[in-house]
């Protein structure tokens, strides 16, 4: 399975990121490199959960405005800056849904649905796309988020852990359990 290539960073790139943050804390205009680096990632994360492209761009802008406004509170912990941005993005997304009284969106790629059914390890299982989508909609929000992050966005468990503020192993276990529940729902 392909994973998000942007996430994987060497130690030197992480240190460089830290320096950018330190400089941006003193001068907001130095936040530019971080914005350029993470804008696309954050936009794709937001757009994956929204159906309106313009709204997604607005929310992405809000994420960076919030990040820059609260940059003085950020503490470097040896993980990519994107982990913090994802948490802000999640918060802004749900705020946007509340403000607009809008429904959360799940963007499903049928190719990825096949990846999920492969994980069910049941050769006799006939993949029914529509039924699987219905089952996804019935999942709890936390389980749906794990499936989404892992199978639709192709993120590494480590990155999932950092976005959800859990360990890599915990992210793996939780994703497995979420998949089990989806399977149970699908076979019902």
């Amino acid at each position: 399975m392909a994973v998000n290539p942007i996430y994987h960073q060497t130690k030197s790139t992480l240190l460089q990121e830290r320096d950018w943050i330190m400089e941006a804390k003193k001068d907001p205009e130095r936040f530019g490199p971080l914005y350029t680096k993470y804008h696309e990632q954050i936009f794709r994360y937001v757009y994956q959960r929204m159906d309106d492209q313009e709204q997604a761009f607005d929310v992405t802008s809000q994420v960076f405005i919030k990040a820059l406004s609260n940059l003085h509170k950020y503490e470097y912990r040896g993980v990519p800056f994107s982990s913090w941005l994802y948490r802000i993005a999640k918060s802004e997304l749900y705020q946007n849904f509340r403000d607009r009284k809008a429904k959360r969106t799940v963007n499903v790629d049928t190719v990825h649905l096949a990846d999920i059914t492969e994980e069910f390890d049941d050769d006799n299982l006939v993949a029914d796309k529509n039924r699987l989508i219905r089952c996804l909609a019935e999942l709890r929000e936390a389980d749906l988020q794990l499936i989404e992050l892992r199978y639709f966005e192709k993120r590494a468990y480590r990155e999932i852990g950092e976005i959800l503020d859990v360990t890599e192993n915990n992210a793996k276990v939780k994703t497995f359990r979420a998949l089990e529940r989806l399977k149970k729902q699908f076979l019902k």
């Binding site: 907001p28 696309e40 936009f43 429904k103 019935e138 929000e141």
Partner: protein, 268 residues
Amino acid sequence: MRKLNTTLDREPMTSQEIRDRQDFNYILKETAVAKVPIWKSIWFYGPVGIAMVTMVVSAVRINPQNEQFEDKTTLSQFNTTNTEDYPANTIVVEKSEELTETKSDSNKENETAIASTEQTVDPSNTVTPNVKADPQQVDPAFLANEKSNEQPEVMPEPPIERVVKIASAKTMPSIAGVFNGRVAIGSICSTGKIDCNNGYEIISFDIQYDNGIESTVDRVSGSQIPSTICRKLRRFNVGSPVFITRIVAMNQKGERKQLLSMQIEPTF
């Protein structure tokens, strides 16, 4: 089922499309606008808060109306202070130990607040103002000097009831027909007596005056202002207010009342 929109196989956006929508200047501009105004920051409330509290405290302390309030506070203390029981055949001399606070509003009853201790002396002694409350602290030379200024004996006074009724407006004390205002010093010292209507006789009162050193309060039994006090009134209090408070009167039936306080201003 949860409220959820599902979109199948949406057209993916290219990286170039997303990059074209990047606008860092907008982010900078919005961040500057979104910054917390100074009056909302916690740093604002420290110095400004302290300054405000200081101003309010200063205003409260400087406000002259509060002085009146303080007077009323002491007045309430005064009104709740019960007259002490005095042994028979004694003259009671009281000496104030704290500065007396007064309210000099000529339209209102003048009130005096005192914190006093009492000293019981032999009936043969005269009323001796300015004697320290503690007999052990009394200067014998001073007492001897004062003894020479003999005064008529004050009538022995039985203990006053602890609950003293406030006199009705009809029962008024006066000196030379004056309840509140200027009185010739000659009139005060010639009669030296506080009169009362409605068949009541004054049996004790407090007098606050300037003894040349400080403002002092003496408790006097009877209705007569002692000559020693009279001399000091003549010498030090002409043109300044003298307060006569805690005036207790008794009628022929033995009923006692506390009358309204007086403020007089001795004049030549």
